[in-house]
């Protein structure tokens, strides 16, 4: 067997299983990502995409297997602010009385003192992050007054402010406007150049082709994993989506 230096991997998930009260949500899943790689996570609803994210963030415990983030346990990765999670718009209470600034500041909480008093450096990090997602005019706007795209950018800014090296994005392109989509794709290129690793789930096959170096097709377990050009084939996609033809998924033109 070849020897692998685990430090080289940003994400190294080995044979992980997750079950909720005996009901298996994910089993024997493997994933290895290096710095600067962007990987698409594709699967049906209920195929275990969110569960996979939950396992990587430590939000659920895995019942079997091993996860290393930058060669460390998930717990130390949490303490080191290594992982950032950008939720789906639907996963957030948009009526929560909180402003853009406050949400982005939450990206700094993990590195603040117990009272979460922002230091000069935290304020600067939040300012920079908001600037990068082009929301400088919306510092004090309540998130309820933002568009879907602006809200998505707010949570991206939170991940930027956190200075995480692993970004997990749940449906980053769903329900966003063209401007936001363009901004996100520009950010992806910057993140890649900064050596950040991105795992994103998406329903949109075109986005996978466009952004992802690698693709992970799952249906409770890994159906296929590898370079997008090799793995993202109609056959594999059909298997992942339980026999639905790719024509239907891609539209007739592809």
């Amino acid at each position: 067997m070849e020897t692998i230096n685990y430090q080289n991997f940003r994400i190294d998930a080995e044979n992980i299983c997750v079950d909720y009260n005996g009901k298996v949500a994910l089993y024997d899943a493997n994933l290895r990502l290096k710095p600067g790689q962007i990987c698409g996570l594709v699967g049906m609803n209920g195929a275990g995409k969110t569960t996979f994210f939950n396992a990587l963030t430590g939000f659920v415990n895995i019942s079997k297997g091993k996860i290393r983030i930058n060669g460390e346990s998930v717990r130390s990765a949490q303490k080191d602010q290594t992982i950032a999670y950008v939720p789906q718009n639907e996963g957030i209470d948009s009526q929560f009385p909180i402003s853009v600034w406050d949400v982005v500041m939450m990206g700094r909480y993990g590195s603040m003192n117990i009272f979460r008093c922002p230091r000069e450096s935290d304020v600067q990090a939040v300012k920079d992050a908001i600037e990068r997602v082009d929301l400088t005019e919306h510092y004090s706007t309540p998130i309820g007054n933002l568009s879907g795209g602006q809200r998505k950018r707010t949570f991206l800014a939170r991940a930027i402010a956190q200075r995480a090296s692993v970004l997990l994005l749940d449906e980053p392109f769903s329900g966003v406007d063209i401007r936001t989509e363009k901004l996100i794709s520009e950010l992806f290129i910057q993140f890649k150049n900064e050596g950040k690793t991105i795992l994103l789930s998406t329903h949109d096959m075109i986005h996978v082709r466009e952004f992802c170096d690698l693709v992970l097709l799952i249906n409770k377990t890994v159906v296929a994993y590898g370079e997008t050009s090799e793995v993202f084939t109609p056959e594999n996609i059909t298997t992942t989506f339980g026999g639905i033809s790719p024509d239907f998924l891609f539209g007739p033109e592809s």
Partner: protein, 290 residues
């Protein structure tokens, strides 16, 4: 005589203050209202109204047992409050019954146990004051307990104010950045049990849930900033307490009910006239339609 003094606002306010029990009631109820109002913002945003109802009813047997054994009633109430939540979690996990059903089932069971215990333990427990509150008859030892518990809750909530807000808003992010979500969950539950304990003196077990959700709901209609929400919630809770006690004094009404009714009216006012979220949007009425 009384009717005359009634006519001036000044004596409406000052006359009751000549009574020692009224001064004590006003002070204690304001303190309790402030504590419950503070917590209320978190409970309404977290969607824990039903949980608040459950915990506050479940403390009943704890209060009865503590009285019977001569222990501080807050201790018994706290044990049963937290115990009920643990039991709810356990039954939910080990059965296929849905959560709201489990909550309803557990707290009514605890509450019934409390009522049965009162009838069995022949002591001088005043069922009426437990069920409906007795802010006018609060004893000195109760005052001390209330102040201590209130201080504890306020210190806990203030210290972890931002973490609790994050926990209510996005627990997954909290977990991802290494914040102890488990601790925050139980911290909020502990504060809930403690607030229910002090709140039941003012308005009684049956209505204490109103103290824990109505001020927060009112504030939620009035602002888009979390800090403002907390301030409005606390203020509306205190004002309701004062109005409730005065009104009950002058018109000889049940005090607990009057306090909660005052809260309900303030909520209805916000519901109808809140500048942004009210039905009639007061701002628009003043500025005219564009």
């Amino acid at each position: 005589m009384e009717l005359c003094s009634f006519l001036t606002l000044d004596s409406f306010i000052t006359d009751p203050l000549t009574h020692d029990f009224m001064r004590k009631a006003l002070l204690m109820s304001s303190l309790v209202a402030a504590v419950c109002g503070f917590l209320s913002s978190y409970l309404t945003l977290k969607g824990w109204a039903l949980m608040g109802d459950a915990v506050s009813h479940s403390v009943m047997p704890g209060v009865v047992v503590a009285y019977a054994l001569g222990l501080p009633f807050s201790l018994g109430a706290f044990i049963f409050g937290v115990g009920s939540v643990a039991l709810i979690g356990f039954i939910k996990q080990k059965s296929r019954v849905k959560e709201d059903t489990v909550i309803g089932l557990v707290f009514t069971g605890f509450f019934a146990l409390g009522i049965v215990l009162v009838s069995k333990i022949k002591s001088n427990i005043d069922l009426h004051s437990i069920l409906f509150g007795s802010p006018l008859g609060i004893s000195l030892s109760d005052v001390k307990q209330t102040i201590l518990i209130s201080l504890l809750v306020v210190i806990l909530l203030s210290t972890f104010r931002k973490d609790l807000m994050l926990y209510c808003f996005d627990p997954r992010h909290a977990k991802t950045v290494g914040i102890n979500v488990f601790f925050l969950h139980y911290l909020l539950l502990t504060c809930l049990s403690l607030a229910a304990v002090v709140g039941l003196q003012s308005v009684g077990i049956i209505l204490v849930v109103a103290m824990l959700i109505t001020p927060g709901a009112t504030a939620y209609l009035l602002t888009d900033k979390f800090d403002n929400m907390t301030v409005i919630s606390v203020l509306s809770a205190i004002i309701s307490s004062l109005i409730g006690i005065y009104v009950s004094f002058w018109f000889d009404l049940e005090t607990g009910g009057s306090i909660v009714l005052a809260q309900t009216f303030i909520f209805l006012f916000a519901f109808l006239f809140a500048p942004r979220y009210g039905i009639f949007k007061l701002k628009k009425l003043f500025s005219g339609y564009k």
